[in-house]
């Protein structure tokens, strides 16, 4: 059973290569995209933190995105 799954009557090398390449590329792209997103979230939250208390209050009240990103960043920190 395992032998036939691995070798697939001589086609195993082609079938497994196709699946491994596909899922490896997908995993790398997922990792890179998620890393970029986290980097931007972190940078954005840090910039909000740098604002004066009054400016921060305005920014967080005005923008749902800013308040969401800032609150999730503070949870992590």
């Amino acid at each position: 059973m395992i032998n036939s799954l691995i070798f697939m009557n001589g086609y195993g090398i082609f079938v497994w290569s196709s699946f491994i390449i596909t899922f490896l590329v997908c995993a790398i792209v997922y990792y890179k995209t998620s890393k970029t997103l986290k980097k931007y979230e972190k940078e954005f939250a840090k910039e909000i933190e740098k604002l004066s208390a009054e400016q921060r209050k305005i920014a967080l009240e005005k923008s749902k995105v800013a308040s969401k990103v800032f609150s999730s960043y503070n949870k992590i920190v």
Partner: protein
Amino acid sequence: MYNFFNNSNIFVWIEKLINFINSIFFALLLAALSFALIFSPPDYLQGDSVRIMYVHVPASWIGLASFTCIALLSILNFIFKIKNLRLITKSIAPIGLMFTCISIVTGSLWGQPTWGTFWAWDARITSMVILALFYFLFIVSQKLISDEDKANKISSIIATVGLINIPIIKYSVEWWSTLHQPASIKITGSSTIHSSMLMPLLLMFLVIILYCALIFLMKYKTEIIRIKKKNLKRL
């Protein structure tokens, strides 16, 4: 209505959708892989090499559909100048390029046991390579041109010209004598694929679509944060 489509509301929906996809993705992936590699039968002619179809065909469909989507949205953006459309096309393009390349590589790996060669300058394969080039030009034009309006215009032209290639890819197997087999699955008319293979194929397609949606949403979210970050500097 307009308020619903503003970036803040879209951002909230993106977060919900990402969580939903993450919650079902791995169970579906496991099921799709089990069917593709274990439970689906080998082909009477191609044997087990037919299993390559479960990654090759969905990758090709996504490569073609993504470019069609990019071209149509680029045309709309060119006419109506809707900023969100640019964000959408910018987020879709890398996914389309990735799956077009996967389609070419897995097709090549399928070609060796089936045709006896990894590569042939066949109409279908060549037109897929041209599609990958159009994707590349579209992404490069967005990245290298700093003036947003100019980048928009040039990338829209590239997408519109590239759209001509889509029917060429689709009908290449009928217009020319090619090594590539004709389509087995037809939207109109009866398909020539058995349900024991069609079901795993559609399941794998669903999994890959969910993966694409996940990457697209993450990229779109990044673009929204980038815009909000720019706006913050104006405070």
